[in-house]
């Protein structure tokens, strides 16, 4: 299981596929106060990101995966309401010397 409920925190771990979107949504609908832990998530399918974006649960553990940390976590932490755009994140090119 890549989705685990542990003491009111939803842990997404490893490579989380789209099949977890439905259970994730159900668990969040069941108790909107549940937090999300992404510390052990390696990849998150877009469908999961969409559920998190739409429901905006509290992020209790930031992701360690560089892509998720740099590009996805900021929007999930960003508590702003439904004004577009939802996620804005930019980085100076200096971080991409490897290109």
């Amino acid at each position: 299981m890549t989705l685990r409920l542990d003491d009111d925190t939803l842990h997404l771990e490893g490579d989380c596929g789209s099949e977890e979107a439905e259970p994730l949504l159900s668990l969040l609908l069941e108790r909107p106060s549940r937090g999300i832990a992404l510390g052990r998530a390696r990849t998150l399918h877009t469908a999961l990101v969409q559920v998190l974006l739409a429901l905006r649960p509290r992020l209790v553990e930031a992701p360690t995966d560089p892509f998720l940390r740099q590009w996805i976590a900021p929007v999930l932490e960003d508590g702003s309401s439904n004004g577009a755009p939802e996620l804005i994140q930019s980085a100076p090119p200096a971080r991409h010397e490897g290109l």
Binding site: A54, L55, P85
Partner: protein
């Protein structure tokens, strides 16, 4: 990185071919929904990939075609609509080829696109006319709306952009609107973004406002993704190639963000298929790309390389023959064993050759399908009317043959329209329908392919041909029968056309046709009935990979001729050679089965030294055809199956030569075009 571009060209040609083949069927009283679906899907798929290249006018035309096809689900197509769609498809094809060779579109493309789009627009007004063509300005405005998202995006990330530009980097902007159903197809849009190490900015927003949480459909994608990235355009296209129709790419112009951005080379224009997220696009996104049974697409160059290696293998196998003979002389048992093995290799090579030939096969429609539109256009330019009917275009032949046929067929078609089909008034006066009828038909005849182009025009006037022949000092013109007079049309520079037009030639046409067909291993024949029309018949091999050649020596050179050009070879005793007194040079003849056959020296014909005089026996090759000619040579060699390579560079188009072949010792031999040399 041209892989993507190459792939686009291959795919684009295929899709346009499908469209071109399916469009005429729309004329049927009740075209099935499957036909419309197929057309729609092909146009839609192409439109999706066009957006990745600087082909905005083509995108506009395809978009208009798609819209028009959509309306045909409700109301059947009128002939004008089919014609407009065909013209649009033909135009896209021409642009695709222009893009392939010139890397861009012609100058007037935007205006032409606007005119075509106007013709395709449903509703009142002249469907076939050019009435309400939108201005180029309108077209440009539409293109700008497509990238309207770019300016605010750039403004929101001004700092990141400034830093990138300070380092002299190019920044590409991407808008990716995944299809609502993309999760079901196994797509993970963000996984594609993860593949961009040069990502500078990423924005995610809902395309429609989020519903109440309880109403959320977790499997309907409702995201729009905007990104700025340092990836090169080609790399981006590679990453997003399967969702190209859902993406718009544009370079962020390296100016202060917020400035007006006018179109630039990669402002690909329209690619998303409309602003409405739920719009139905049947099979809209390159479905083939994910189907496991997708046929393998191999570049023609690889097949060519395979065929070339196989040719080399055949040549190497041929080289065993003299060794086997030597071995047999030393040890007959060893010779027999070796000969058996050699035969086995020969069989395998022949089998492989058949398989490679199969890979190289294409339907004739590849060359035929462009002709109807060209016939219409050409006829219109000449103030004539004509229809071109086709049959047998589904037959397949070697790629070299199919592609090599296009030019000669075009020549023949133009000739027929220019010189054959009469102007409408004249036709009516002769009791013919005003529109000329052309028919292009292909059929298999044994191992060969027969292609005929007939017209119902004026036909040839034998007396005019005879007069033209006399005027040119053709020997024996007065006594020539009709067939011989027709054959004259295929000699260089012979033309009876009263005037030279820009459509067809100055007497080079038919000669060029003969040479082009000969280079493909074929021959041309012509039948004409005065007042009723002309039929030109092409007989071609279906495969061109290996040609049967006869090796020979003449003028001190090792040469080769195609076996099919040779009727027989003779050893002629000196006594049977009749010198023809009174003629210049050293003309001679001999009698073959009661028929006098002229005898020429092949070396001398080629401008090489003549063979030594005074031999007791002369080796003679008799050419195939209605008027055989004897050619004296120094020696005959073996028969050889070898690939014929067309002449290149300086040698290309050299009269009398078909190409070159490697003999069993690996030496290059010129392969002679005997009909050309002996006429």
């Amino acid at each position: 990185m041209n892989e993507l571009r190459d792939q686009f060209l291959i795919e684009g040609r295929e899709l346009l071919e499908q469209v071109g083949e399916a469009l005429p069927a729309l004329r049927a009283a009740q075209p099935g929904p499957a036909l419309l679906d197929r057309l729609f899907r092909a146009v839609h798929t192409l439109k999706g990939s066009v957006g990745l290249f600087p082909l905005a006018p083509m995108g506009l035309v395809l978009h208009a075609m798609e819209d028009r096809l959509d309306t045909l689900r409700a109301a059947p197509a009128t002939p004008e609509v089919v014609l407009a769609l065909q013209d649009a498809a033909a135009c896209c094809e021409a642009w695709l080829e222009e893009f392939a060779s010139e890397d861009g579109l012609p100058d007037g493309a935007a205006a032409e696109a606007a005119a075509l789009a106007a013709r395709l627009r449903p509703g009142p007004g002249p469907a076939g006319g050019t009435g309400a063509a939108p201005s180029a300005g309108q077209a440009r405005a539409a293109g700008e709306a497509e990238t309207a998202w770019l300016v605010p995006l750039a403004a929101r990330h001004a700092a990141a952009l400034a830093a990138a530009w300070a380092e002299g980097r190019r920044v590409m902007a991407l808008r990716y609107r995944p299809d609502a159903g993309c999760f079901f197809l196994g797509e993970d849009p963000l996984a594609l973004l993860r593949r961009l190490p040069g990502l500078l900015a990423l924005e995610l927003s809902p395309r429609l406002p989020w519903p109440e949480p309880a109403q959320l459909d977790p499997y309907a994608c409702n995201l729009e993704i905007l990104a700025l990235t340092l990836e090169a355009p080609d790399a981006l296209r590679q990453v997003f190639r399967f969702v190209a129709d859902q993406c718009v790419l544009a370079e962020v112009p390296a100016t202060a963000p917020g400035n007006e951005t006018t179109g630039n080379e990669t402002t690909g224009g329209e690619t998303t298929g409309g602003e409405t997220p739920g719009r139905e696009t049947p099979g809209g996104r390159m479905p083939d790309a994910r189907t496991p049974a997708r046929p393998l697409r191999v570049e023609p160059a690889r097949i060519e390389a395979l065929a070339a290696r196989l040719g080399a293998l055949a040549v190497t196998g041929n080289a065993l023959a003299p060794l086997v003979a030597r071995a047999a002389a030393l040890d007959p048992a060893l010779g027999r064993d070796l000969a058996e093995r050699q035969a086995a290799i020969g069989r395998l090579v022949a089998e492989l050759d058949g398989m490679v030939a199969g890979l190289r096969r294409l339907p004739l429609s590849r060359s035929f399908r462009r002709l109807p539109a060209l016939a219409r256009e050409t006829a219109a330019r000449l103030g004539k009317e004509a229809t071109l009917e086709m049959a047998g275009e589904a037959l397949e032949a070697d790629r070299a043959i199919v592609e090599g046929l296009y030019e000669p067929l075009l020549h023949l078609l133009r000739n027929a329209l220019d010189h054959g089909i009469e102007p409408p008034a004249e036709r009516q006066a002769r009791g013919k329908p005003p529109a000329g009828r052309l028919r292009l038909a292909a059929r298999r005849a044994g191992e060969r392919l027969e292609i005929s182009l007939s017209d119902d025009g004026a036909g040839l006037d034998p007396e005019r041909l005879r007069a033209a022949a006399r005027a040119r000092g053709v020997a024996g013109a007065a006594a020539m029968d009709e067939a011989a007079l027709h054959a004259l049309l295929f000699t260089p520079g012979f033309s009876t056309a009263a005037g030279v037009s820009d459509i067809s030639g100055r007497g080079v046409g038919m000669d060029a046709v003969r040479a082009a067909i000969a280079a493909l291993g074929g021959h041309v024949a012509l039948e004409s009935r005065k007042g009723e029309g002309i039929t030109v018949r092409l007989s071609l091999p279906q495969a061109a990979a290996l040609r049967a050649l006869l090796l020979l020596r003449a003028g001190g050179e090792e040469l080769a001729v195609p076996v099919e050009a040779v009727a027989e070879t003779l050893r002629l005793p000196a006594a049977r050679i009749l010198p023809l007194a009174g003629l210049p040079g050293e003309a001679a003849a001999f009698v073959l089965r009661g028929r006098t056959v002229p005898l020429l020296d092949l070396g001398a014909l080629l401008g090489l030294p003549r063979r030594a005089e005074g031999a007791a026996v002369t080796r003679v090759l008799v050419t195939a055809g209605a008027q055989p000619v004897g050619l004296a040579v120094e020696a005959f060699g073996r028969r050889l199956d070898a690939p014929l390579r067309p002449l290149e560079g300086l040698m290309a188009g050299m009269p009398g030569l078909l190409g070159t072949a490697l003999d069993d010792e690996g030496r290059v031999r010129m392969v002679l075009d005997l009909p050309e040399l002996t006429r």
